[in-house]
Amino acid sequence: MKDNKFRAAIAKNPVLALFLGACPAMALTTGLIPALGIGCAALLVLVLSAAVMSLLGKAIPEKARVPACILVVAGFVSIVQLFMNAFLPAVYGMMGIYLAAAAVNLLFFGAAEESCGAGFGAALGRSFMTGLSFVLALAVMGAIREVFGSASIAGVALPFLENYKIPFLTQSAGGFVVFAILIAVINCFDRGERQAQPGFAAAAAGLVDAAPAGEGE
């Protein structure tokens, strides 16, 4: 199975299989645009912090890695936040608190921690894939919730669905329902192989154990 990259990507989907970044995934998938907004911001932060951590990895003592990751991720989140506020003010407005809150999201720590000491190329590739699957998961969730909940896609109204929309889907509880359905679909692909996957999940699990207070979402 390991050669099946598609399956592996799904099985390692940070949101739907590992439940990382569930907070923005719920809060910002009421529409496709905010979902893509937070997704792309996250992708950028992931790649940048993985790159930095892979370069610094060997220079940072083991015990300083977690605080170093926090510093690097928070730094990049702040930078992305400033740029979004300046150049994409409308999308930035949709992010609300969740963009800033991403600074303490395990999704980024996991990727950053994993990149410590890893090869630069490998770290970049892996974090990019993680980011991409995060974007995809959020885009799918956002699209489903927007199309069926608001009868529109990316803000463009879909008049033929107007009479069939389910506004519940745009609410928080509707977010949980869509989230659950997508997880069920992922589990069909996964069939328990997730436990066997080393690496990211293990790293994430290690972080959860190390800092349980971090998962307050």
Binding site: P61, A64, A68, L71, V72, G75, N85, A86, F87
Partner: protein, 433 residues
């Protein structure tokens, strides 16, 4: 171990320092862009009233200090100068509307001091004064000669107009634009509360609608205003280069005033008076039949009613009658004071020969009563409370209905006017006050 701790701390400090530097750089780069994004958002409503504006310079902002402008009324939230000299944009907010929640508007005033754009941005009151009302301010200077109030929505339209007025006051006080000159008609109509109190509502604002002149050639009449309660007309008339205000009551009695407010009924060109009187007679709604029926019933079936002249009564009283029931004589009056929502509160009073109220009634005691549920009114008891009151014992308090203040204040106004009319009718026989 110590070495490891030191290395960890050093690494963290270095990472911290590097990111602090990068963030500072990014902030220096993005801060002006973010600020201009924010001000673009704030200026958007200004651009919608002044679309051709190149930019705005803030002269006054209620939330910021350091403005050099003086005497800016509370209503004014912001004053912005258009950078290419087109004029000024203002943000205004007033809580003088019906609900007391802020009514907000933006307006643009051109360099000549005339309103070039106006837009309502927040309107909490349930009764709308109509989309055309703000538009009627376009082209007006600070005198607002051609803007009235909307009958039935007086509170809100007055609040709106006063806010615009405050905006002008701030501009004029700071020498930004010159004051407009009030038109003759405007100055004349400002006399109305003094010369025709019957047209005025509880706030002291004359309530009328402009009526179109029709049915003949008019040499003198320029404008005619129909009282909102139907109790007469006000005319702006001109003879040569002189302007006059003429008022006619429901009985068709007219008086003419000059620009200084002096009564010139006796000395004005008789043709002018004739034209005004004829137009009033042709257009006045006649209440006599209804009044006689209601007043007759208040005394006794079969009572005889004779109309009395009201030549010198310009109050809310629209009819006065001598009522004979057998050998007893009574005086009957009908009055239309403006009540809730500026609707006429039509009241009927019967007084005995000594001026004491014998009976009273009204078409409706609580105007638009459906809106109010917190009043309690035992009609029979309420009416009985008026019996025996004379001009001397009347204080106005007797009419009060708790929970329906505006309506019952109108009843009180009507009663006051009736006592006055009684005095005029009996003591002077309707001749002179």
């Amino acid at each position: 171990m110590k070495k490891d701790n030191f290395k960890s701390a050093l690494a963290l400090i270095l990472i911290f320092a590097v990111f602090a530097l990068i963030l500072a750089g990014v902030n220096v780069f993005t801060a002006p862009i973010i600020e201009s994004n924010g001000s673009a958002q704030e200026l958007a409503p200004l651009l919608s009233v002044m679309p051709e504006a190149k930019g705005f310079e803030t002269l006054y902002d209620v939330n910021a200090s350091g403005s050099t402008l003086a005497e800016v009324p509370e209503t004014v939230q912001g004053i912005y100068a258009e950078t290419s000299g087109l004029g000024y944009a203002l943000r205004l907010s007033t809580t003088q509307g019906y609900t007391g929640e802020p009514i907000e508007l933006t307006m643009a005033v051109d360099a000549e001091g005339k309103i070039s754009g106006i837009e309502l941005t927040a309107y909490p009151d349930s009764k709308d004064f109509g989309a055309e009302y703000p538009g009627s301010f376009l082209g007006q200077d600070s005198a607002m000669a051609e803007v009235g109030l909307v009958a039935g929505v007086t509170y809100s339209s007055k609040a709106f107009k006063d806010a615009v007025s405050d905006g002008f006051a701030a501009l004029i006080a700071n020498g930004l634009v010159g004051a407009g000159v009030k038109s003759d008609a405007q100055l004349l109509l400002e006399q109305l509360p003094a010369v025709f109190p019957g047209m005025v509502n509880a706030e002291g604002v004359a309530q009328y609608e402009e009526r179109e002149l029709a049915g003949g050639e008019f040499t003198y009449i320029q404008q005619v205003m129909k009282a909102a309660n139907g109790c007469g007309f006000a005319y702006v008339a001109a003879d040569g280069d002189k302007s006059y205000l003429a008022v006619c009551n429901a009985q068709g009695a007219c008086r003419v005033y000059d620009a200084e407010g002096a009564d010139v009924t006796g000395s004005v060109n008789p043709s002018l008076l004739e034209e005004v009187t004829a137009d009033a007679a042709a257009n006045q709604e006649v209440f006599a039949e209804r009044e006689m029926s209601r007043l007759g019933k208040l005394v006794a079936e079969g009572a005889e009613l004779t109309a009395l002249p009201l030549d010198n009564v310009f109050s809310t009283v629209t009819g006065a009658y001598l009522i004979k029931d057998g050998g007893t004589e009574y005086y009957g009056f009908s009055a239309r004071a403006l009540g809730y929502s500026n609707l006429p509160m039509i009241c009927y009073f019967v007084l005995d020969g000594n001026g004491a109220i014998v009976a009273m009634t009204a078409e409706e005691f609580i105007l638009m009563g459906d809106y109010f549920t917190d009043y309690e009114l035992d009609e029979a008891q309420y009416k009985a409370g008026f019996a025996g009151l004379t001009a001397d014992t009347w204080t106005g308090e007797q009419a009060l209905i708790s929970g329906a203040t505006v309506s019952s204040n109108a009843v009180a106004d009507a009663a006051t006017d009736v006592f006055d009319a009684f005095k005029t009718v009996t003591e002077n026989g309707g001749e002179g006050q």
